[in-house]
Symmetry: C5
Amino acid sequence: MAESLTNTAQKAGMSPGTLVHVGSVHDIEPAMWLIDYSKDNVEKRAIASVDDIRHHIDSDTVTWLTIEGLSNVTLIESVGQLLNIHPLVLEDILNTHQRPKFEEHDSYLYIVLKRLSLESGHFAVNYEQISILVRDNFVVTFKENNDEIFTPLQQRLMNGKWRIRNQGADYLTYTILDTIVDGMFIILDSIDENIESTEETLLSNPTTESLATIQRLKRELIYIRKAISPLRDLLSAIPRTDSSIIGEKTHLYFSDVHDHVLRITESIDSHRDMLTGLLDIYISSVSNRMNEIMKVLTVFASIFIPLTFIAGIYGMNFEYMPELSWRWAYPALWLLFVLIPIALIIYFKRKKWL
Amino acid sequence: MAESLTNTAQKAGMSPGTLVHVGSVHDIEPAMWLIDYSKDNVEKRAIASVDDIRHHIDSDTVTWLTIEGLSNVTLIESVGQLLNIHPLVLEDILNTHQRPKFEEHDSYLYIVLKRLSLESGHFAVNYEQISILVRDNFVVTFKENNDEIFTPLQQRLMNGKWRIRNQGADYLTYTILDTIVDGMFIILDSIDENIESTEETLLSNPTTESLATIQRLKRELIYIRKAISPLRDLLSAIPRTDSSIIGEKTHLYFSDVHDHVLRITESIDSHRDMLTGLLDIYISSVSNRMNEIMKVLTVFASIFIPLTFIAGIYGMNFEYMPELSWRWAYPALWLLFVLIPIALIIYFKRKKWL
Amino acid sequence: MAESLTNTAQKAGMSPGTLVHVGSVHDIEPAMWLIDYSKDNVEKRAIASVDDIRHHIDSDTVTWLTIEGLSNVTLIESVGQLLNIHPLVLEDILNTHQRPKFEEHDSYLYIVLKRLSLESGHFAVNYEQISILVRDNFVVTFKENNDEIFTPLQQRLMNGKWRIRNQGADYLTYTILDTIVDGMFIILDSIDENIESTEETLLSNPTTESLATIQRLKRELIYIRKAISPLRDLLSAIPRTDSSIIGEKTHLYFSDVHDHVLRITESIDSHRDMLTGLLDIYISSVSNRMNEIMKVLTVFASIFIPLTFIAGIYGMNFEYMPELSWRWAYPALWLLFVLIPIALIIYFKRKKWL
Amino acid sequence: MAESLTNTAQKAGMSPGTLVHVGSVHDIEPAMWLIDYSKDNVEKRAIASVDDIRHHIDSDTVTWLTIEGLSNVTLIESVGQLLNIHPLVLEDILNTHQRPKFEEHDSYLYIVLKRLSLESGHFAVNYEQISILVRDNFVVTFKENNDEIFTPLQQRLMNGKWRIRNQGADYLTYTILDTIVDGMFIILDSIDENIESTEETLLSNPTTESLATIQRLKRELIYIRKAISPLRDLLSAIPRTDSSIIGEKTHLYFSDVHDHVLRITESIDSHRDMLTGLLDIYISSVSNRMNEIMKVLTVFASIFIPLTFIAGIYGMNFEYMPELSWRWAYPALWLLFVLIPIALIIYFKRKKWL
Amino acid sequence: MAESLTNTAQKAGMSPGTLVHVGSVHDIEPAMWLIDYSKDNVEKRAIASVDDIRHHIDSDTVTWLTIEGLSNVTLIESVGQLLNIHPLVLEDILNTHQRPKFEEHDSYLYIVLKRLSLESGHFAVNYEQISILVRDNFVVTFKENNDEIFTPLQQRLMNGKWRIRNQGADYLTYTILDTIVDGMFIILDSIDENIESTEETLLSNPTTESLATIQRLKRELIYIRKAISPLRDLLSAIPRTDSSIIGEKTHLYFSDVHDHVLRITESIDSHRDMLTGLLDIYISSVSNRMNEIMKVLTVFASIFIPLTFIAGIYGMNFEYMPELSWRWAYPALWLLFVLIPIALIIYFKRKKWL
């Protein structure tokens, strides 16, 4: 996230409207593929040039164009010109540090949001910006990466039996949003597991690493929240749009995704509360351990200090110390050396210090 | 709750609108029973097939159908078709991890909420999702379990004297909601008792278990709040509905349940504040105990350290130590060994360290 | 408060609309008294039967009926029938665990709130639920107890010179609310005194009792806030009512009470902030005391440990220890035994550890 | 502030509308002075009797009447009658524990707010209630004290060159509010200085007094916030009034004061955050100091304990201890007594404990 | 910031509308330069006298006048008269402690905000107040300093290829705001780096300096937030203006800047959360270090205390101590002196105290 600001900062000196790719993913070879479908037909193919798209734009069939990789600015600029996209929107598509938002333009809607995914191997969340342009019968998605998030969706489209084929671009938009939002539950699951395992570790053996884990999870939640919370407004704004692109029949579907987002943000808040609880446990456990160590010191010191003193007395070299010549003095002292610790230990046990 | 996310996550790859039971209760044999009543008659029977319901749908009498157990997806799907329910609603009914909500559809209202109950034996809250479909003169409740929450309600319906028999489906809906909400007071009572007993334990003997209890109660309150707080909006939305299903006369009743929910959420907030207070007491008690132990060490060490030093002096082997041969030196030293501790103890008492 | 939930929970199984007295005050012998007044006449008398009220209902004079003690359910039910009160309202009157609220009904207004009073002897707040029914020219107040809160008001009514006699039921309602709200200032005063005295104790001698006092005050404030904060909405709703019962001329008076409630809630919030501050002081004081004890131990130990070591050296029994036979060795050592502590004490003073 | 509640509490038993002076300032001899001005003339004089005001009320010139000292209830009542003021407003003027507010009445506006000033000598904030009644061409200010806050304003009025003389009562009201609000910046300055000097003290030498200062500042900020935050609503309400008394041309001026109040409240919030930061520093500093003391004890003890043990060994009286008769044993031991501490100190330095 | 209040406080006694420069930058020689451009022409020149501006005011070309340095009050007053600016606005321009705000006046719009920049060398944020007056085809910016923030913008204007030359004063205003807002990302970057490096330091070696850095960053964030958060309202208010000065086509551009501000404020909030996390780490690290030191003391003391006691026993001078004359007693004791520490170390290792 730090790096994202740096990038934006680097762009700070430029004129607004200059199209530059601002992002951290540069090594993706840009690729385009397109699915064109109607109730009866469906066709999927890779696209090499922008001209291949042109005849789909005003056709009756629904067309879904996906552009993976944002480093080819010229390509995206020409798509923008073809679809008559506002320069600021193109700039937002290319700058992958957008806040999720929904904008209504005259002939199209613009949605930008983050897709969250887990890095395999260890707990780390990846953020991929996905921009969605929705026109009548035409949806364009711009992705930073060439991952497989849309693969199940494509397969369902290609597979003729699914109800989506009867529906328009608005329903397609819904399924795209639904796919992205549902993916976030996996992240929350993982956080949940991390919290649980951290809690167990904490109670048995609190280490500085546990603290670092808590802080890392906390920070990750801060970022996730930042990426997700604007979705609430976004998704409640879509059904309220005046645009005819979003049909009234799909409002219910967007409300459904909205419900999911509400559930996710509420879970994030619960998780934050729980992490605060974990911190309390950590601090408490650490201080408990210290107390235990203190107790041992107290017992050792308190037991031996008086004994050593007594031994010291009879190590003195006074001429007139009658005890020194008593026959049973030494054994009697040994008795004392045994009885005093026993008495003290009983006392400490009573005080519940042991 | 963790597991709920996992389930939803598993469903993440599926197409929206696919009906699957997502929940943790699978071992309930689905059962249906139906109560049909009017001012003068009342009839209760178990239902085996969906066809048995058909003739009740548009009858003049009020019909209450309850389906217990959600694992039979086909059954619920056919009920949905019979009543012309939107696929998304059916999906919500089957997915038991819904956020409580209220939806108005053309011919019916959909309410989904959580019923909270206490596990017997120890403190643990169970969450059961209950969906309510309200049509004119026809109410369907979908439950995950076959518990007895509705038994008193059924008995009052069967028992002819009660005013509900004069009323419509809206009043029945109210009584169902009222039953569910009133059940939550029992949970709060139990939390209250737990807090009180924990507080007593804390002041007398703070242990790590007390801390764990506090954290457990805190977490439980987070979950309960998540289940209850959406009810406020839900219950204030019901009387504002345009639908003719909710008669104006019952608005006051729904407001009454709304008041109860407000009371419950306020109690939850108070409880959270109190738990934070308990945490303060815990931390404070632990550090008080440590202080007490520290004091003992201080007293022991501070008393014996100077004495041991004095004994050490007269254990030295110098040839010219005149005291060594004094007649009363040893008894005088004993006097010192008694007087120094007394002086120190008086000093510590004055300083209020003892 | 815990017990209130228990009571409500006990009622959970009952049918809504069943009139039962739910409350903790059962030993009050129900009593009714009535004041009837107009500009020229005023009359006060005790009422034995509901029939005695009937002719006052639609009279031109203003009538104030007070019912003390809620255990006689039949009585209250018959008053309800006489005045045509909705069953839910009667239920609310009898269930003394209501959240303060204001409801408009066709022919009457219903206000329910808590009266706070201090138990004499020690700091403890009593909560009494007072319900007010306002009709044209007729006000009924239902009280749990037979305390004297309304006595000054009655006296002023009986005493002919007061302006209230020229006014209607709305002004009477205002004076009743004003009396109840103004009584809360006494509670806040008492809390204020408690906070101040606790603070003084804390700085001089922080004990576990101080902590318990802080927690007790905190909890009390949570309860008081719960009882008072709904009054803000309540009192701003009264002047906005469409009902003709509240004349426009009295709006200003209700705003005045509203201002008082605002002042009270702001004071409660300040008090909570101050209690949090007290907790900081407590924790700080405790750790300061511990530091002081630690310092003494450090000084004692650090001074005597080296001395004891030196004494130990010359207690060794080596044959070749030339110092042992030196004439001035022993006095020189004594000098050392004096100089080392002095040096250390100076060092510690410089370090500000003493 | 505590005392203010007590006073209000004392008034609790009285009938509303009874005019009594409730406040802490009783020893001010009530005084009245009046400035009457128009574009061309200005006249200032002391007023002895209410009758002297009468002919100014409906004159064309603007009149500013100031009443200092509120103990003469009769005087204020007769002013009230002369200007036809509502009894509740008079009551509010006399009760100096009002929450700042703005009320529109038929023929006048009523503004009440607090003027904050610093007590000279030490940091303590004085609160003076100032009530402002605004009529067409007539402004009355009621003050508790006879301080000089309005002196510069009077001088500017008397001095003919100033633009205010061309303006009406609304502009005069603005200048009065502006004077009061601008005076609050001095308080904030003083708090700022206090925070800075406390911070410096904290880092060098954290004492319990620093903690007390932090708490005192915190409490003072709580009170100041209570006095100032209602001004935001008040000042945004004034330009929205329907009353013709506030001309549209002065709206901008009231917005300007509103901006100042916003700046002040934001500063207060920053200050609170900073004080919380100071508390963190305090706690941290105290625990750092304790750590330092602990370290010294550790070093002293850890160095001398093994040495003392070694000396103890050779103080034993066994017959067969060959080392005792070795020629170089004693000097060798001395070498050990020097080397062990050096080794330990190097070890501790490496561990960064020294 | 403290000083800003002082300045305002000094102005407190003056009459409102008196033009005085209130700010901390006095040593800037006031300078004016002007850029006049249309689609085809562009001209930049320094301005010496206000008269040079006059003919640009109502010309068709767009004119951007920048005034650097605010100490020449007469100059600014004459510009104000020329453009018919309200005295309060002039006052705000000269008082550099304004809260960012947007005001609509009849013939012009007034925007005031803070430009944030980093002092080179170390982390410190500079705040420069920039006021923008927008008329039809005429924009005036008032700056405290003569820094180079607008240089890239000027260059782009002078360089003929840029789209801004086709646009009006509203678009120019947007680019100015965009430049100022984008500059804030650099600050956030720097804070981000500071937080990261502090975190690393904290985990390895927590010092009081780390704490001071955390507090300094916290305070800086408080100030930055105060400077930035009003921009949200400001920027959402601009497109909602009724004024014809802001054309509908530029609304989208202002929304874009609004999005940036939202991103910045969200980042600030995240940073604050992270700093709170750092504080937790700091406190935790400090207490961990203390625990480690405690452990060493415990081990040293616990090992040597019993050994010293044993040595003390055989240093006693009793006549009848048979062990003293045993041949292998002394070597056996040495064995004990080795075995006891080993046993204790194994015990402590098991307890995980080492």
